[in-house]
Point group: C2
Chain length 418, copies 2
Amino acid sequence: MTSTNFTSATFDFAPLLPVGLPPPAARWTGLARYSFVGGNNDPEQLPLDGLIDAVNAVLRREGRTLATYGLASGPQGYRPLREFLTAKLQRDAGIACSADDILIVSGSLQALDLVNQTLLARGDTVIVEQESYQGALNRLTRLGVNTIGIPLDHDGMRMDVLASSLADLKARGIRPKYIYTIPTVQNPTGTIMPAARRAELLRLSEQYRVPIFEDDCYADLIWDGKRPPAIHAMADNDGVIHIGSFSKSIAPALRVGFIVAPWTMLSRMLALKTDAGSGALEQMALAEYCAPHFSSHVPKLTAGLRVKLDTLMEALNEHFGTTAEFDAPKGGIFLWVKLPDNVDTLKLCSAALAAGVSINPGPEWSTDKAYSKNRLRLCFASPSAEQIREGIAVLADICRKEFGVPVRIANVEKRAQI
Amino acid sequence: MTSTNFTSATFDFAPLLPVGLPPPAARWTGLARYSFVGGNNDPEQLPLDGLIDAVNAVLRREGRTLATYGLASGPQGYRPLREFLTAKLQRDAGIACSADDILIVSGSLQALDLVNQTLLARGDTVIVEQESYQGALNRLTRLGVNTIGIPLDHDGMRMDVLASSLADLKARGIRPKYIYTIPTVQNPTGTIMPAARRAELLRLSEQYRVPIFEDDCYADLIWDGKRPPAIHAMADNDGVIHIGSFSKSIAPALRVGFIVAPWTMLSRMLALKTDAGSGALEQMALAEYCAPHFSSHVPKLTAGLRVKLDTLMEALNEHFGTTAEFDAPKGGIFLWVKLPDNVDTLKLCSAALAAGVSINPGPEWSTDKAYSKNRLRLCFASPSAEQIREGIAVLADICRKEFGVPVRIANVEKRAQI
């Protein structure tokens, strides 16, 4: 309760709030017992000993630089980390850039904010993948930007639809500010865009003079380690802004991401990055750990993730049968699942949460609320194999109670024995 | 060079940029040889061994929680750090709050952003101290907010002027969104507002229903360790938003600050804090170090800072004589200096920088450009005693060449021997 009586203990802030604020956050009540949401990773795969060794080494060598706002390396971030990234991006993604072309940020979410602040104004139009990262879609909504969602197929964003959308927008005098894509382990569909389609995307970008905003934050997590070159690497102009993160490959709670962009754009983003630098200790720990260990760590991590994906798909097959449709992704930490048409995953989400299971309902990850109504995203890196199996069993139960599907529960006897 | 020819290597982003962007940043060219700017601290006083021990202990005990976006403690931040703050704020500032009343943020700059986003819209009015933190003033300018600067005396913000300003604004139908104050080691003047004046400020806040935004980020650094209660602690309503930081007491490159506010406001700020949490490793290291060591570390730090302040004041007396006027602050890391009326510190800043000396010109730290024209801020925590002495000698030289003052250079012979 608020009050305008100032002898009371409550000050009424409500009349001071500007219009358009998002609704207030609810009190946090803990993670769900079976949590299939969020970019959390497998705690068992966290390279803890290596990180501890790295922190010790880098702090003993140069820890006193922490007294200076990270500026021993300048506002673009800890230079050894940018130098590691230069080598890594060349090796893994084919990107030729120098440490001066990289801006270290506080997670790729800050990268989204900086790119958006640099390019977008209310009423602008951007192109996104029809199913896309919730955090990116929410930001665009909050900014009052029109989003055109391009449907995906097994190879990612459909270029035929993109071409006709760009032509249509041009005919209406609209030049979109960017084409946002997650081409390598697309979130949430898990697709990887082949090189030929990347080339076609670049051709359309040049034809319509619309820059590409390439979000590669899941690109390290591919089962066979093989990936096409980054779109940034294939461009023959510098009209691609490329972002990435260490959240998925090392640890999400270390808030470190990066932006690769031409100086004309980085200099604009730096002017907007008024945070006195991103956390230096986390940058130092990552640089020290990654330079010698990244290449050997990632295959171990992905092998473990692959096992968890198999567990999840087996559990879905067991408990949902043909009711749940999905394509096995070639990497990542999430599975995009289609349920029967009568299922509303927003309602399923609420009911499941009450039963201790958290899921991402499709409409929160798509610009097409009808198409995504019966779809959901399941993240599998964080829960244990046992939690995956139990959680999917509970989810199937809830889904059956709410929507009558799946009809047949294969493991009634087995569950009764637990 | 930019180009609209898309077969070239340059993509022309310029037509895509929204109006109102700040100018692009310049390439970083390193710290000045004699740097008297920024909230940097004394590297020798950084508690490096203690921080290393703390990082090792906390990572060995619970490092695997880094796999989960800091959410083992929820979005308000690492709970042991909030619990340390609860005890520290009670002991040092008299604030009675629980861990649930605290939001950990990525440095107090993020606190400024979150408070501003929660309360301000373009065209709003806020009240600030006439001389104030540049980062706060710049943010308000960028937001298109009108700032009313209240002059300070030796006891901080003048309540007589504040009272008449509030009355005047009310007569014009304007209710300011907040009164921003740095009451404890004011930045840049170094004053400490006495308890009686804090009480008067609270009375005016209640009378005019304008909340107080209390920035206490220098409050730990007081020579004798004695400080009045925080304004937040003295309030009998919850109309005070209190922020603080570990940048000044431990290490600026660890980007960790905090907000104490009622849930009606914290819940709004949390909804705007879309960064997936502040860096967990830095929060964990700070909590582990501070709980046992903060109280013994700070007096050692301030003793060292006090010696550097004395060195700076001696150097100013030696090289500027009566040309430089200042009051010895009771704490902090900066000295606010008045030069003769004919000196323009913006011009002095440019000339000094060319000679390797960086200073903060007064107009960047004040809402009154005329009053502050001949004033400057000198930060003394980061440079060594030798750098302080040499840098002030160079600054005096430059000032004399540019403005004819100081007339007499006391140490010509001594400098010739260097």
